[in-house]
Every structure is written in structure tokens, then in C-alpha cells.
């Protein structure tokens, strides 16, 4: 099966997990964003072309389940996937720590942008409190998920083509 189709199926499974288990099991009230994690991990494993595609599809899926078709998630996740994709071929794929680090940074950018692009949130949020109590813990959770997902996808699809890109 085409790898991109598999990625889209993984995104759908991710969305189902996001709206069910990951929204119920929220340790310390922290909620991750598994779609963002999948977009970043797949991008750094497969490059900017796939990153853009997965970013658009992931963002769209998430926006649809928020009652909108094209909204903040599509607008932010597509470029994040595209930009993260440029890392592909520039690092050793067997290094498992890069994906969590990039996911952590991307999560912080993503959450801040979602606030800035939302007219309801931009003026009503207490930025420092939200950063400290919501954004950083959620980004750490995302980074941990990224580690697990990166190792799984790398071992499933990229084992053997690991040294400094394809």
C-alpha cells in the first residue's frame, strides 16, 4: 500500500484516539495534540512534500471535528509540517531524541499561534499563566508521545534506510 495512504489512515486513528482516550485520560488536566505529533514525526521522517500533505490533511480532520472546515489547525499545521520536513536528510534517523525536541518546539509555536489567530482568545488569555500551566506541560506530553510514535514509525517503515536520510 502507498505509504501516504498509510499515513492518512494513521492520522484518522490518531484523531479517533484524540477525541476519545486522550481526552479522557488527562493526567494533571494535560491534553496532548496527537495530530500535531503525527504531522511533525511523519514530516521529519519523510520530507517536506509529505509534511505539507499530512499537515493539510491532519489540520483539516481536526478542524472538521471542531465544526469548521478550514480553520486555525489547517493554517498552522500545513506550514509546520512543511518546514519540519526540511530536516529530513539532515540528521541521523537512528537518533531518537531529535523528534521529541522538534515536537516540543513546534508545539510551543503551534499553541501560541492558535491563541494569536483566535479572536476569542487573543485578548482574553493571561499569557504567562497559560504558557506556564497549559502550553509547556502539553508540549512535554506531545514530546513524549513523539518519542513513542517516532520509534514505532521508524522501525516500521524506515529501518535500513537510516543513515543521514534516504
Amino acid at each position: 500500500m502507498n505509504r501516504n495512504i498509510i499515513f492518512v489512515l494513521i492520522l484518522i486513528i490518531g484523531l479517533i484516539l484524540q477525541v476519545t482516550i486522550l481526552s479522557v485520560f488527562t493526567p494533571y488536566d494535560i491534553k496532548p495534540d496527537i495530530i500535531l505529533v503525527l504531522v511533525i514525526v511523519i514530516s521529519i521522517l519523510d520530507g517536506p512534500k509529505t509534511g505539507l500533505l499530512i499537515g493539510i490533511i491532519g489540520g483539516l480532520l481536526q478542524d472538521i471535528f471542531l465544526g469548521e472546515f478550514i480553520s486555525v489547525n489547517t493554517i498552522i499545521k500545513a506550514p509546520l509540517g512543511f518546514i519540519s520536513g526540511f530536516l529530513e536528510g539532515h540528521f541521523y534517523k537512528g537518533n531518537y531524541l531529535l523528534a521529541p525536541a522538534i515536537t516540543f518546539a513546534a508545539s510551543i509555536i503551534y499553541y501560541l499561534l492558535t491563541i494569536v489567530l483566535s479572536e476569542e482568545l487573543i485578548f482574553s488569555v493571561h499569557y504567562w499563566q497559560t504558557f506556564k500551566n497549559v502550553i509547556v506541560p502539553s508540549s512535554i506530553y506531545n514530546a513524549l508521545l513523539a518519542l513513542i510514535i517516532y520509534i514505532s514509525l521508524y522501525r516500521l517503515f524506515y529501518y535500513g534506510e537510516n543513515y543521514y536520510g534516504r
Binding site: I16, P48, F69
Partner: protein, 274 residues
Amino acid sequence: MNNKGRLIFAAILIVLLALVGTLYFFNINISYFQYIESGIYNLISPLIEFFSGLYYETVSYWHGLLNVDEVMEKNKRLERELASLKLENLMLKGFQRENERLRKLLSFKQHVPFETLGGKVIGFSPSLWENKLIISRGSNDGVRKKMPVISYNGALVGRVDYVGSSSSQVSLIYDPEFVVGGIVQRNESRTIGVVKGQLNNDEINIMEKISWDADIQKGDIIVTSGFSNNYPKGLPIGKVQEIKSDNYGLSQSADIKLFSSIHTIEEVLVITDF
């Protein structure tokens, strides 16, 4: 990817972003997109319902298995409660008959309870900032946008925000975008205000625009005022926890401890005839 390829992709990305940004910022709705949106939504939501059912079944099975003593104890307690409630119900039926008779005597309008439709909670919002529920009822069951949603104890839970064919999304009462008119239930007060959700606080809403000399006390029950025509009058919202001076003393605001809690919601009722 070579430089030319990167350039083409960057160009495609910029065009796409400009397009998507225009659609988003100018709030343009294209009907063709709505078909795609509802198509994808209706395709995926049955999978969510299936997975959610499987998950809750497994959890309750293991919970039952691991806590047999607790379940038996609870069963005994519920049986005792049921017996006392049966007695109470009999008494209430008597009161109801008396109430109906008195209403007839006074030619009062008959109080008609709302038509409701029960739905299971199958999922939650996939965003950190928006608080929504996905329920297992959709347009096929008669659910429409903006219908009020209550919990089984009658407390306001939210409002239908998006309707699919077999599932819908409910915007929750503590979502920062959620606003509802509230009134103090106490007969001698009837103070009004605007009840709003707060970001990342799923237990306490804030009631604003309360007049500076209003009669509002800690412990007062706040219900929907029914002034806006979006919600029926008298749906319980929560209890006043704290009263603060607002707007440099020109008005008051109150922290409202909500009656509905997302952590315990498994089923909801949609009010369909309002």
C-alpha cells in the same frame, strides 16, 4: 528534493496559505466545502462511536471485575435508595395531582415538560482551547443546530454547535465562547447577569454585569433567565461560590460553581422542542 523543487513547493505553500487564510479571516463559506466537510465527518464519526463504545465497555468490565465488593456494596446502597425514592415518588404524585387540580382552579397555563432526546457522549473536542462534546445523535434523530443540551439531573450542559447525520458536536457551558443569561432562582432576588465560560476552567463560570446593588448571596442557585430565546427559562446552571466587585465598583461579578461536570458526563439530553 532539489532547489527547483523546493522553490515550487514553497510557491504552492504560499498560494495555499494565502487562499486558506483569505477563507478563514474573511469567514467565507463555500457550500461545496460544506459537502466535503459533512462527508468526512459522517464517515469518521461512526468509527469514533464504535471505538468509544468498545473503550467504555472494556473499562466498565474491568472496573466491575476489579471492584466486585465495591459494586455489591453500591448495589445494596442503591436498592435502599430506590425504596425510599419510590416512597417519595408516591408522595410527589399526590402533590402533582393536587398541583394540576389547583392549576385548573386558577386557570393557569399547563406546565409542559420539554421533549428531550437522550444521547451518549462518544468523544471530546480535539483542541486544547475549545470545549466540546461529540454525542451519538444527529440530524437523523431530529437534532438541529442551537438546541440546548442538559444533563440527566437537568443542569445546562451546552448547546448543539454542529450536526452530522448520526452525531453532533455540543459546545460546552464552560467554553470561553459560551454565553448565557442567568438569573438568581431565589424569589425575593431575581437578580440577572451574563454567565460566561472561562479558559481552562471546567468547574467555574463567571457571572458578569450584575448590578452593583443587586441582591445576590453565596450559595444562590443560578438558572437560565430565558430572556435571549436561545435557552428555555429555569434550567439550572450552578451555585454562587464567590461575589466580587467589578468595573471599579460599578457592577458585581460572581464565580458560579457549575452543576454539570464533564468528568462525570456519559449521557446527555437534547431539548428538541424549544
